[in-house]
Structure formats: structure tokens, C-alpha cells
């Protein structure tokens, strides 16, 4: 006779552990997570980071302030200008120098264009995660390519720009800069429409992403999340509004907020941010006046007074902070990068447990991590 207890024993199933990454198509780089799954449902997630660790912070301590700029590009390779901006602003604050107006406006334009290209990268990669075979990817990448062409014309490099300098910019932008920016913006507007048509209103996409990977605003704050991933949970924190830097206080733009804190909100919010960035660039371009791009007198070698400074800016993935300690001399005593991706990644377990395996992939995609920034 079969007792209920024996039956229970008979139908008991064993959890399966699968190792996702570091070589997996949807971990966006060398990220590894060990999933414990019960059938198709995720019971536990253990993320492993650090495969990409190159010691960027330590390296910056061994070289002078201008040489450190290149390393910022290498930590955040999808939003290089935003990363450079935090660094040069930290150095400027230590040195206490004023940046000419034209340089600030150009910095704003480049940072917002970089945000656009970074978010397009997200829509493409996320489309692939959800399972669109390449179409979202190519449509997004064409937009990113257009922005990168502009950056290449200005800086001479496609990925590692190293264009911002403490005090201003490395050199003047190209003569046709304004016309080129207008061209790029026209393409971006079309790109947003394309992505909306392909993904945002697609029934299967909506069914896959709505209600998945939920995190409440309070939980998001507790995990130290920032950027679009935080705002999708309804927390109104955008450093461009909260602590305006550059000339963001003179510009009229909205901060989109999500209501439900799920994957769909995080996606839609980023698409909306592309629209807002287009608005910002439009206004910046109008106010761009001829003028110097470097202060009159800049020392050949930057020597900072002793002190410490923390600068945070709103990068496409969240708060990108630089903590800089100087004990005098021409190189930092300590440099700490506050990575938005690393903090956002902490919430992965919270958002994934209890969902399906396929959802684990899109939740990870919706955080929009850059492994170079996580591991530094």
C-alpha cells in the first residue's frame, strides 16, 4: 500500500543547478550566474563578478591626472563621455578652476548623445534577450553607429574618446558640428519610432515583459540602485534634476518615471529617456556660442592641493561617481569609482527568484549592465 508519505517522497524532485556564463550569449560580457532551478522556475541565483577586473582605480593612482582620462573610457565603454565627465569634474573641483561656457555646452551635447547611443545599445541587446532574431539589434545598432560616426569626426576615435580635459575640451569641435548634430537628431527621432513599432507595442513583447522582475521603490533604494532601473520603480531621483551640474538647471526636460517597477517599465522608460535627451540636445545646440574651450591659463602639469572630493553624475546606467583623494602632487592618492551597474546588479536575486528561467535572462538584460564598469 502506498502511504501518502511515500507518495510525497516519490514525487519529490531535485533542484537542478545550471551555470550561466561566463560564456553565455545573454550575459552581456563575462558575467556568471549560477541558477538553481526547479523545472522552469528559478529558486536561487548566485551572481559572480570579477572576470573583467583590471584594477583601473589602482592604475589611475600611478599616473597623472590627464592620463587617467583614458581609463575612464575603459570602465564605461558604452557611455564614455559620461564617465569622463565625472572624472574631469572631480579634478576641476580639486583644482578649483572654471570651465568656459562653450566647453560646458559641448560637454552636455556629447553626454546626452552618448546617453542616446547607450540606450539604443540597450534596446538592441534587450531585443535579442527577449528573442527577436537580430532585427531589434540591427535597427538599434544603426542608430548607435550614426552617433559614433559623429563622435569619431570630433574625437578621432570610435570608442576610447579621451576628449574631455580638466578645464575644458582637448580641441575644438569640427566646423560643421551644429549641422551634423541636427542630422544625427533627425535619425534618432526615426530610430525611436522604429523601436517603438518593433518592440514597445508588440503583443508578445508586452506579454513577456510586463509584471516580470518586479522590485518596489523602497527595495530599489535599499539595494542602492540608481538611474533608469531605480526610476522605473517610481523613485524620482535624477541627479541632473536633484543636483544640477553643467547647465542642466537652464534646460527644460522631464524625468520619466515608471509605475510598476517591472521589466517593461524599465524598457519603456529608457526609450522615453532617448526622447528627452533629444530635447536636451536641441536646446543646447541653440545656446552654443563661439568662445574658448579651455581656460586662459592652464598649467602644463596639474598639481592638486591636498583634499578629497566626490562627484556624481547621471550616466545612462545610473549614478557614476568619482571619489578622489589627493595628498598634493600630480597624481591621485586614491581614486574610487562608484559604479552604477555593480549596485544595480545587487538586486538581481531579488528580481529573479520565483520567475522562469527565460525571465532571468530578460531581468538581467533590463538592468543593462556593462561588465567593464562592474569589475573595473
Amino acid at each position: 500500500m502506498v502511504t501518502p508519505r511515500a507518495l510525497e517522497h516519490e514525487f519529490e524532485t531535485q533542484d537542478l543547478m545550471i551555470n550561466m556564463g561566463p560564456q553565455h550569449p545573454s550575459t552581456h560580457g563575462v558575467f556568471r550566474m549560477v541558477l538553481t532551478i526547479d523545472g522552469e522556475v528559478v529558486r536561487d541565483v548566485v551572481p559572480y563578478v570579477g572576470y573583467m577586473h583590471r584594477g583601473a582605480e589602482k592604475l589611475c593612482e600611478t599616473m597623472d591626472y590627464r592620463q587617467g582620462i583614458g581609463y575612464m573610457d575603459r570602465t564605461e565603454y558604452l557611455a564614455n563621455f559620461n564617465a569622463e565627465l565625472s572624472y574631469v569634474m572631480a579634478v576641476e573641483k580639486l583644482l578649483d578652476i572654471d570651465v568656459p561656457e562653450r566647453a560646458q555646452w559641448i560637454r552636455m551635447i556629447l553626454c546626452e548623445l552618448n546617453r542616446i547611443s547607450s540606450h539604443f545599445m540597450f534596446t538592441g541587446a534587450f531585443g535579442t534577450d527577449v528573442g527577436v532574431f537580430g532585427t531589434a539589434f540591427t535597427y538599434s545598432f544603426i542608430q548607435r553607429e550614426i552617433v559614433q560616426d559623429l563622435f569619431e569626426e570630433i574625437t578621432g576615435d570610435r570608442l576610447m574618446y579621451a576628449y574631455f580635459r580638466p578645464g575644458g575640451l582637448a580641441w575644438e569641435v569640427t566646423d560643421n558640428f551644429v549641422a551634423r548634430v541636427h542630422e544625427v537628431l533627425a535619425d534618432m527621432r526615426q530610430g525611436v519610432i522604429d523601436i517603438d513599432g518593433l518592440l514597445t507595442h508588440n503583443e508578445i513583447f508586452v506579454a513577456r515583459t510586463k509584471g516580470v522582475g518586479y522590485i518596489s521603490g523602497q527595495d530599489a533604494i535599499d539595494y542602492g540602485m540608481s538611474g533608469p532601473a531605480l526610476r522605473a520603480s517610481g523613485v524620482d531621483l535624477d541627479i541632473r534634476k536633484a543636483e544640477p551640474y553643467l547647465y542642466y538647471d537652464q534646460i527644460d526636460f522631464d524625468v520619466p518615471l515608471g509605475e510598476h517597477g517591472d521589466v517593461y517599465d524599465r524598457f519603456v522608460l529608457r526609450v522615453e529617456e532617448i526622447r528627452q535627451s533629444i530635447r536636451i540636445v536641441e536646446q543646447c545646440i541653440e545656446r552654443l556660442q563661439p568662445g574658448p574651450i579651455q581656460p586662459e591659463r592652464m598649467p602644463r602639469m596639474l598639481r592638486t592641493p591636498p583634499g578629497e572630493v566626490y562627484i556624481r553624475t547621471e550616466a545612462p546606467r545610473g549614478e557614476y561617481g568619482i571619489y578622489l583623494v589627493s595628498k598634493g602632487g600630480n597624481r591621485p592618492y586614491r581614486l574610487k569609482i562608484r559604479s552604477a551597474c555593480l549596485s544595480n546588479l545587487q538586486a538581481l536575486k531579488h528580481m529573479t527568484v520565483g520567475q522562469y528561467v527565460a525571465d532571468a535572462v530578460i531581468v538581467l538584460g533590463s538592468i543593462d549592465i556593462v561588465l567593464c564598469e562592474v569589475d573595473r
Binding site: 545550471i18 534577450d129 528573442g131 509584471g211 528580481m351 527568484v353 520565483g354
Partner: protein
């Protein structure tokens, strides 16, 4: 019994051998063509060019790929189950190719005219699920196993709506012989009388072929190729061949059963050339539709996939069979079929739309809850 092939009087075995060689030869060539066309069409959807380098307009790309695959080493993981692993590709391949026997290309042109052709097709085509599970189980890889299990669940669930949709048409045509089904359509193809059945057939066929949005077993971004993860070289290419052969066969059968095959709209007394053009245009249209869907939709999740089959497609397919039965028994006019079919289609779209717009915030299970459950 007819053993005459092209009018030749042949021994049974020679005849069979020639037919088998014809099937395999034709399918291999047409699969290579299909792969080339798919790559070109997908590239156009994605603002790319597709293959351009190998041969004129990249025409030889498929051939080059095939040669490369045959030349590759046939790897088998040390821990894999040898028999299961090595036989799985053929268990997938052979049932698919068996379906080729009853594809009605032209009038009287069929590898074999079988009185119960449609039954034969649905019976053989579903065997390949066993091969998928074998591949997933035998590889001794956890991704492959998840993929194999998904394939089994999906294949079994979508077999039912597919069979019922075909059954609905067979009822109206009063035959299971595909030649007779084509002839029975006359002036109006069955897609007009059975729009709901056609839609269900198309969706279920997509799932049977593991094509997007139902490519869950091989989901590239989740299980990295599923059951095929450990396969390489020739065995992998056999899987590939089977996938595209299934695409061709299902499209051809869809064209014959729902779109009037080689007859509609030009009538039955046509030359072979016209029949060929009609049949390939209809098959090509369905294949193009499959590629189009692949280029534009994301993948469903496994629970949504199962729910769609059991809660939406299957009840509607059953309802369609019921309506057809009533029409046959009570001799109602054919227009009833059209009206109910369109109504069923609208109901299907409404249910789908409603499923998509369901309320949102389903809070994730907390970690504590999950630990309690496991």
C-alpha cells in the same frame, strides 16, 4: 498498385530506391536553397545584405556551409550516452522526410498517392519529438536537457491543434487523400470556408517546426541551442536539414489543403507548368510568412506557450470540428462555415489580446517564500 515511375515499368525495389533517392536529393538541394533565401530575406528585414561573397550574390554560401559542416569533426562528449546521442539526429530526420511521401506537388505527382494521406502525415510527423528528447537527454548537458524537455512539452501540445485543424478540413472535403482535397476545393479554396482552421494550422505549424516565436526549445539567449548544444559537424547538419525539410513540407501541405494547391484559381485542367507555378507560389508565400514572423516577433515564454495551446487553440479547434460536423449532418449551407470561421477568428484575436493586457503587477516571490517552497 501503381509502380510506374514516369511511365516506366520497374521492379518494386528499384522503384522504391529511385523514389527514396529522389526525395533525399530533392530535399537536400531545396533545403540549401531555402537556407540561402532565408538568410537573404532576414538580412533585408534587418537592413543588412546577407551573404554576398561566396559565388554570385552569395549563391554558393549554403553549399560552402554544407561542405564545411561535413568536413568538421564529429564530436561526442565523453559523458554522453553513445547510442542515444548518435541516433537522435536520425530519429528527428527520418519522420520528417517520411512526410514528403504525400506532398501533392502537381496533379498526379506525388511520391505515393495514399488514400489516408493526411492521417499518415500527422502520424509520422510527430515521431520526431522522440528524437529531440533523445538528443537532449543523451548529450548529458543541462541546457540540452532543458531544451529537450521543452521540445517534448511543446511538440505534444501543438500536435493536437494541428491535427484538429487538418481534421476540420478533411471533414469538409470528405477525404483524407490530399489529391482529392485539392480537387474538392474547386472555385473557392478552403481558407475561405475555414479561416480559423487555417490560422490554427499556421500557428501550430510554427510551433511544430520550433520556429519563432515558438523557438523555445532552441532559444538562443536562454538555453543556447537547446538539444543541439553538443552536436557538431554532420550530425548537427542532419538536424538542420530536418528543420528546413519540415518547413518545406508543412508549407506545401498548408498550400495544398488550405490554398487550393495546384488547382485554384485557374481550374484543374492546367498544364504541368502552370500547376508548378501555382503550387510553388503558394508554398513560397507560406514560407515567406514564416520568415517574416521570425524577423519581427520576440520569443514566448514556456508557460505562455503551453497556455496558448491548451486554453486558446485547442478549444477553438474543437469548436471548429463541432461546427463542421453540424454542417455536414444537418446539410446547412456552406456560408455558415464562413460566418462561424470568421467569428472564431475574431474570438481568437480577442482572447489573445485579453491575455496580453492582463493586469500587471505580479510581485515576485520573495526570497524567503522561495526558500520555504524549495
Amino acid at each position: 498498385m501503381n509502380y510506374d515511375l514516369f511511365g516506366l515499368e520497374l521492379n518494386v525495389w528499384v522503384d522504391a530506391l529511385i523514389r527514396v533517392l529522389l526525395i533525399v536529393g530533392f530535399m537536400t538541394v531545396s533545403v540549401m536553397g531555402l537556407i540561402y533565401i532565408e538568410r537573404k530575406i532576414l538580412a533585408r528585414f534587418q537592413r543588412r545584405l546577407g551573404p554576398t561573397r561566396t559565388g554570385p550574390m552569395g549563391l554558393l554560401q549554403s553549399l560552402a556551409d554544407a561542405l564545411k559542416l561535413i568536413g568538421k569533426e564529429d564530436l561526442r562528449p565523453k559523458s554522453a550516452d553513445p547510442w542515444t546521442f548518435e541516433f537522435a539526429p536520425y530519429v528527428v530526420f527520418i519522420p520528417v522526410f517520411l512526410g514528403f511521401v504525400i506532398v501533392p506537388f502537381l496533379f498526379g505527382w506525388q511520391v505515393r498517392v495514399i488514400e489516408l494521406g493526411l492521417l499518415y502525415f500527422v502520424a509520422t510527423s510527430s515521431v520526431n519529438i522522440v528524437g529531440w528528447v533523445m538528443a537532449g537527454w543523451g548529450s548529458d548537458n543541462r541546457y540540452a536537457m532543458i531544451g529537450g524537455m521543452r521540445a517534448a512539452a511543446q511538440g505534444i501540445s501543438y500536435e493536437l491543434p494541428l491535427v484538429l485543424a487538418l481534421l476540420a478540413v478533411a471533414m469538409i472535403a470528405s477525404s483524407l487523400n490530399l489529391q482529392e482535397i485539392v480537387s474538392a476545393q474547386g472555385r473557392v479554396p478552403f481558407v475561405v470556408w475555414q479561416p480559423l482552421a487555417f490560422f490554427i494550422f499556421f500557428v501550430a505549424a510554427l510551433a511544430e517546426m520550433n520556429r519563432p516565436p515558438f523557438d523555445i526549445p532552441i532559444g538562443e539567449s536562454e538555453v543556447v541551442g537547446g538539444p543541439f548544444v553538443e552536436y557538431s559537424g554532420f550530425r548537427w547538419s542532419v538536424f538542420f536539414l530536418a528543420e528546413y525539410a519540415a518547413l518545406f513540407i508543412l508549407s506545401a501541405i498548408g498550400a495544398a489543403v488550405f490554398l487550393g494547391g495546384w488547382a485554384w484559381p485557374l481550374g484543374e485542367e492546367l498544364g504541368r507548368g502552370w500547376q508548378l507555378i501555382l503550387m510553388s507560389a503558394k508554398t513560397g508565400m507560406l514560407i515567406f510568412l514564416v520568415f517574416w514572423v521570425r524577423a519581427s516577433v520576440p520569443r514566448l515564454r514556456i508557460d505562455q506557450l503551453m497556455g496558448y495551446s491548451w486554453k486558446v487553440l485547442l478549444p477553438l479547434a474543437l469548436a471548429q470540428v463541432l461546427v463542421n460536423g453540424a454542417v455536414l449532418v444537418y446539410d446547412w449551407p456552406k456560408q455558415v462555415l464562413l460566418v462561424t470561421g470568421v467569428m472564431g477568428l475574431l474570438a481568437l484575436f480577442w482572447v489573445t489580446e485579453r491575455a496580453v493586457r492582463q493586469p500587471r503587477t505580479r510581485p515576485a516571490m520573495t526570497i524567503a517564500q522561495s526558500e520555504a517552497a524549495s
